[in-house]
Amino acid sequence: MSHGIGRIESIAGPVVRCVGLPSVRMYEVVRVGEQQLIGEVIEVGEGTCTVQVYEETSGVAPGEPVESTGDSLSVELGPGLLGSIYDGIQRPLPELREMSGDFISRGLTVEGIDKEKKWEFKPLVKIGDKVEPGDVIGEVPETQIITSKILVPLGVRGEVVEIVSPGEYTVVETICKVKDSHGDVHDVVMLQRTPVRIGRPFKGRVPMDTPLITGQRVIDTFMPQAKGGTGAIPGGFGTGKTVTLHQFAKWADAQVVVYVGCGERGNEMTEALEEWPHLKDPQSGRPLMERTVLIANTSNMPVAAREASIYVAVTLAEYFRDQGYDVALMADSTSRWAEALREISGRLGQLPSEEGYPAYLGSRLAQFYERGGRVKALGSGNRLGSITICGAVSPPGGDFSEPVTQATLRIVKVFWALDKDLAARRFFPAINSLTSYSLYQNTLEEWHKENLGADWPELVTEAMALLQKDQELREIVQLVGPDALPESERATLEAARMIKEDFLTQSALHEIDTYCPPGKTYRMLRVIINFARKMAEAVSVGVHVRRLLEFSVLDNIARMKIAPWDSYDSTLDAIETKMEREFQTLYQELSDSGMVMSKPAE
């Protein structure tokens, strides 16, 4: 690689203009100034180029050197990613701490993956096998839950002429040699380097027919995410974006989680670092960090690296997708990424569009979300993998009409709308079930019917109708008072209250309720809708709602949330039986007292 040297011409914040760098390319990584700060070329002119610097530029002066590296901004991929925490350009934070102490200083170079650590490699090909890019040549049990599949890199195709025997190897040792059709022999190592700004290739997209179970009832019920889907969660501060994304990272039934804290709080990353190693993945029972990669570019870390962090994250996600895993990528917050884009664009003097954002905001967002999806991976096997992307959006003033929210909503298929009023009354998750939506609801219906219950779609529709009606009725009550409502409508209000209080609210902080297995979600909804139906029937034959509210099963319903994950069935069986009995007793009493002639037909 030729390493050209140029000079700094001018500096304004993270944007540095350079002259005299020969044949520098767009998105090439350069070293800026005497301190060798890391930067990336974002504009190329005649004899000049503009660089965004991923580190603070105080003290850097014009005239200092700029050195090209010939490399694009890339990440290192291979065993060793899981359980790591990186900054926005894949520098491991623990190593940065070792080098520079508790505060991050500048000009530090650390690689993303440990080159000395030895991994237990098991070959899966033999000499003479024909391989193509994406084929699995062996595997490494990286953690107890995730086996890292070692793939043939792009550009390598041919016949295996050498493969090591099972044993311990570093990621840079040659483990396999492949001879191509020209007779050239390629060395294959476990480590791959991939540029971050373009997606890794795959064979094709496949339909998304499986939900990503999040364990959050309101989401799994009303606006489910699909494996491979894209979703956004906009909301003003304090409405629950971060808690919800953390909940996904902890409980969603993805196999690998990539979580990027992009321009948000330091303590939120610390919380994940301190808590997640002690939490167990509900599917495997293993510590969560064994399936997780964290990327932390907090708000006080350099802005340009914030812009890059999103791409670094999605490239890591693609690497696991290509191995055939279902990956969930959480980005908190995409608005901070957009602001980084705006800041750089402003310093470049580009013509601003709405609210100062560059005109390409929408297309950049779309490019990012397009890297999600469920795909057939490269290689001869029929490996399917997916990346589900969930992004937080932080609209100024909580106003969804702003450019980032609007541009995002044009792209994503799931919209979880957070509601300030709900958050203010501590109704969590503060997701507005009437304005939120999932465009995957229909494609996921088959799965739901098969795995939860054939009546699932009906239950969901009925619950939604009750909430809708509730909203209308409450507007009326605000105008004329509750007395004006007929008994049947009071029953509706009561049913909706049960849905909201006993089903939709779910505390992320409660030991049990923090996660709700899909089977439990189904049964809880069924109990409430059954009660609502029976209540409506009873009211239709003249029973007062007041009388129904005396049912002691209501207390049990109010506490079904905290039924344990592994034994909720017996709790819910008991509730259903008790409910049946209390209604029977009611009709018995009524017919004894001659008030009702007969129980309504079943």
């Binding site: 505060f103 321009g263 990353m269 932080s394 100024p396 902080l509």
Partner: protein, 466 residues
């Protein structure tokens, strides 16, 4: 670097607003400190905002009045802005850039620290978990402050944020612990009367010896406000990380800070974001607020309580909005509560302490804290909804249950939120008071509490439902 300091440029080509443009410069680095000699002989300070092509743009902290293009001389120091730090600064009154204002001895610096600091490695942080008892029920009971947290007060003109802040400083403690504490107080554009109020209040409680004041008052140069919070936080970091102290930093008023930033941005003709504030306001504020926290293996901590006034009480205004996106919660004051004579008028609805969840409960405050908090919130928001309804349909239309909630909301405001300016309640007292108010409701109504917890509260005599 020293060779540079000998060069004095007299090539000022433009003076406009807070900015100065110097031509023919060599090797001037970004963000370096500049000393300016005005025609009057006065010495001013600035920093480089832009450099290159033989030209440097400088922001002048004292403002540019009196500067010209002929005589004004500019010297580049080759250094970034540094604060001389030492533990001697406790008990001292400094100006907004850290120069002594009082008649105390000259400060001997133990070190010089860059006022912009460096970002804390998230991997080095320790999650804040120790609750601070402020003695105010509305904070301690509903939105507990935790050591190492950044929790702002959102206020408005005429609201008693200063009295609240002074009370918090007076009363704050960690029950059963007598660690070394210090207060760093940064005033940005507040009036001399307000500053006097704080000094007097610190003096009365004997806190003044543990306090460093950085004062940029209303009649001090506006652009200096860009430095004030940074100098204050640098001092706080020294006290916390070198002298193992628990430091409470009060920054007031952050709105004035943001306005200084806007002035610079406008002078540079930058593309404005919302309401004329620069697009990087979020990042800029986070560089201040994220300096709160706790670091693994270090004993001291930095807790921040920024105070800001919301223009027209508008919480969606960029300053409170972006602050709320960075800080770990917020305590907004309510004009409604204030008018109804409730002190402190902290509005529970939009209030939040994000770090509370890890800082309360068994072994920290009391095991029933979470449940009491949830039930009080539920009761108060039900009560408020009903108030709106009563305004329309009258109270006769309400059921028994509704009447209870109405009464609860009134008592909650008067007795739980409301308290004396010199009344210091313990966590125990606050939680028992909560149960006392919940006694308005029968047991079955307390859906957010565990039946066992209710029995416990009954036995204790705190919950006495009819």
């Amino acid at each position: 670097m020293s060779k540079k300091s000998s060069v004095a440029y007299r090539t000022v080509s433009d003076v406009s607003g807070p900015l100065l443009v110097v031509e023919g410069t060599h090797n001037v680095s970004y963000n370096e400190v500049v000393r300016i000699r005005a025609p009057s002989g006065e010495l001013l300070t600035g920093t480089v905002l832009e450099t290159g092509r033989g030209r440097a743009v400088i922001q002048v902290f004292e403002g540019t009045s009196g500067l010209d293009t002929d005589v004004t001389a500019v010297r580049f120091t080759g250094e970034t802005l540094k604060l001389p730090v030492s533990s001697e600064i406790l008990g001292r009154v400094l100006d907004g850039s850290g120069n002594p204002l009082d008649d105390g001895p000259k400060l001997t610096a133990e070190d010089h620290w860059d006022i912009y600091g460096s970002p804390i490695n998230p991997y080095a942080r320790q999650y804040p978990r120790q609750p601070i008892q402020t003695g105010l029920s509305v904070i301690d009971g509903l939105n507990t402050l935790v050591r190492g947290q950044k929790l702002p007060i959102f206020s408005g003109s005429g609201l008693p944020h200063n009295r609240i802040a002074a009370q918090i400083v007076r009363q704050s403690k960690i029950p059963g612990e007598e660690g070394e504490f210090a207060i760093v107080f940064a005033a940005m554009g507040i009036t001399a009367t307000e500053a006097q109020y704080f000094m007097k209040s610190f003096e009365e409680t004997g806190a003044l010896e543990h306090t460093t004041l950085f004062l940029n008052l209303a009649n001090d140069p506006a652009i200096e406000r860009i430095i004030t919070p940074r100098a204050a936080l640098t001092a706080a970091e020294y006290l916390a990380y070198e002298s193992d102290m628990h430091v409470l930093v009060i920054l007031t008023d952050m709105t004035n800070y943001a306005e200084a930033l806007r002035e610079i941005s406008a002078a540079r003709s930058e593309v404005p974001g919302r309401r004329g504030y620069p697009g990087y306001l979020y990042t800029d504020l986070s560089l201040i607020y994220e300096r709160a926290g706790r670091i693994n293996g270090r004993n001291g901590t930095i807790t921040q309580m920024p105070i800001l006034s919301m223009p027209q009480d508008d919480m969606t205004h960029p300053i409170p909005d972006l602050t709320g996106y960075i800080t770990e919660g917020q305590l907004p004051l309510s004009r409604g509560l204030h008018r109804r004579g409730v002190y402190p008028p902290i509005d529970p609805g939009p209030s939040l302490s994000r770090l509370m969840k890890e800082g309360i409960g068994e072994g920290m405050t009391r095991f029933d804290h979470k449940e009491v908090q949830a039930q009080l919130y539920y009761g108060y928001s039900e009560g408020i909804d009903l108030r709106d309804l009563v305004a329309v349909v009258g109270s006769e239309a309400l059921t028994d249950r509704d009447q209870k909630y109405l009464k609860f909301a009134d008592r909650f405001e008067a007795e739980f939120i409301g308290q004396g300016e010199f009344e210091d309640r313990s966590f125990e007292q606050t939680l028992d008071l909560g149960w006392n108010l919940l006694s308005e409701f029968p047991e079955r109504e307390l859906k957010r509490c565990d039946p066992d917890t209710i029995s416990w509260a009954k036995e204790r005599g705190a919950y006495r439902a009819a």
